[in-house]
């Protein structure tokens, strides 16, 4: 299973190509879905970590001065 980082790179490339009319819509949607689902799973794991600022059901806002 590719890492979220790899899927993000593929998705952003697909987004550019699709916007330029150089990629089939189904392939763009697949790249988007693969990345989006991987990101959700990664964030769920971060939410389970009490030391991570990831919000649980809401956005979490922080400032580090």
């Amino acid at each position: 299973m590719p890492s979220t980082e790899t899927l993000e790179k593929k998705f952003l490339e697909a987004k550019e190509q699709y916007a330029a009319g150089k990629l089939d819509g189904n392939k763009y949607q697949k790249a988007k879905s693969d990345f989006a689902l991987a990101r959700v799973e990664e964030r769920k794991a971060e939410e389970a970590d009490p030391n991570h600022p990831r919000g649980n059901g809401i956005a979490s806002v922080t400032e580090e001065n």
Binding site: K15, K32, S33, A36, P53, R54, G57, A59, E63, N65
Partner: protein
């Protein structure tokens, strides 16, 4: 006058779905998030756009956070979980930021002439980084999620 809730802007979503056919593309990398103080009172039924009341004043700006805000990037609109439409994006993180009293974030369609409001986020507290890192960390459910199969 205060920020009390987060929400989606009804006027915008009605215009997307009715004969107006407002062309909001949530996959775009050009939407922005602007910051406002607790002096505004958002109305998710009546408010329409960035630059239009109440978003024509009380904007929070400062070092590394200009008027108009920053781009919301790596955006996705997908089904997650099954039956739910989710809009997600990369976390927002701005370093060496200095500003005072950010209570509310407005995501709006900067690419459209109307700067249509999409979603507003109540931060729950005022944030005032002083040469610090200001971060908005989205939940695993994304910036927002709509259960279309309740």
């Amino acid at each position: 006058m205060a920020v009390t809730a987060s929400g989606l802007y009804l006027t915008t979503f009605i215009d997307i779905l009715d004969t107006t056919q407002l062309a909001i593309d949530l996959d775009l990398e050009t939407h922005k998030i602007a910051l406002f103080s607790n002096s505004i009172t958002p109305s998710f039924s009546a408010d329409t756009a960035y630059g239009v009341s109440p978003y024509n004043g009380n904007e929070v700006t400062g070092t590394n956070w200009a008027s108009g805000g920053v781009a919301v990037t790596t955006t996705t609109v997908t089904e997650s979980p099954t039956g739910t439409l989710m809009f997600d994006a990369a976390d927002v993180s701005v370093g060496t930021a200095t500003f005072t009293g950010a209570r509310f974030g407005l995501i709006y369609a900067d690419a459209l002439a109307g700067n249509n409001a999409i979603v507003g986020i109540n931060f729950g507290s005022d944030y005032s980084p002083n040469a610090g890192t200001f971060s908005i960390t989205w939940a695993s459910t994304g910036v927002f999620a709509l259960d279309l199969t309740p």
